[in-house]
Assembly symmetry: C2
Homo-oligomer: 144 residues x 2
Amino acid sequence: VEITREFGASRADLFRAYTEPDLVSRWMGPRQYSLEIREYDVRAGGSWAFVNRASDGTEYAFRGVFHSVTPGEQIVQTFEFLGAPGHVSLESATFEDRDEGSRVVIRSAYQSVADRDAILEAGMADGVTEGFEKMDAVLEELRR
Amino acid sequence: VEITREFGASRADLFRAYTEPDLVSRWMGPRQYSLEIREYDVRAGGSWAFVNRASDGTEYAFRGVFHSVTPGEQIVQTFEFLGAPGHVSLESATFEDRDEGSRVVIRSAYQSVADRDAILEAGMADGVTEGFEKMDAVLEELRR
């Protein structure tokens, strides 16, 4: 799965929004969940973990490790939903300049076609789209 | 890419050969290279790094991180050849009992079909086959 999203903000601000836990917690994931970051150690070998919480208290936990972090350029990390343990994906986010702002290209590689289809059916596209809309607001604040 | 290999040894010994650096250095990779392990921290979030060295001194370096380690059952890790930086794969090794011994099932997921084809053309199958032949000898020693 490949996703490209363009932003009006600079690549430096986009990278900040991706890597500073206080900023990440304000945009990542679907609107109907709050996001609690438990660990976000953005360096090669660092771990990350967060929980999405629905208004009825239901929790969805995710975790992974960072394979590599190239400041301002690229992050490669693993991703696992602990509700379906053992189904791990590899995610890269590559940050690029454009004439007016920047873009991120996300590539997700799954261990099977079934894993990929399960994530898509779980509403990955909506979650990502909503997350990036929230990120627009975070980036607007950083620009001020 | 999925690879299955059967061994006469117990699953416990197979897992040892996969996780103890002194044993790993004796079997992993093609016969024509020596293997120097620089880091092998087998736990979720741990890093690994090794160098294959040809007889003419040429070095091929590899690194990655462990996403999860379930003793005796499964290892999930990232894999990167530093000669082609940025081309990362996700590798899982699942260990299973069988009537006489054990088996490992390896699944490798690449970020693109081109990445997968490049690894196959580089001789991945021969390297894995030769490595497992060396591992047979290591496992024979563990059994004594």
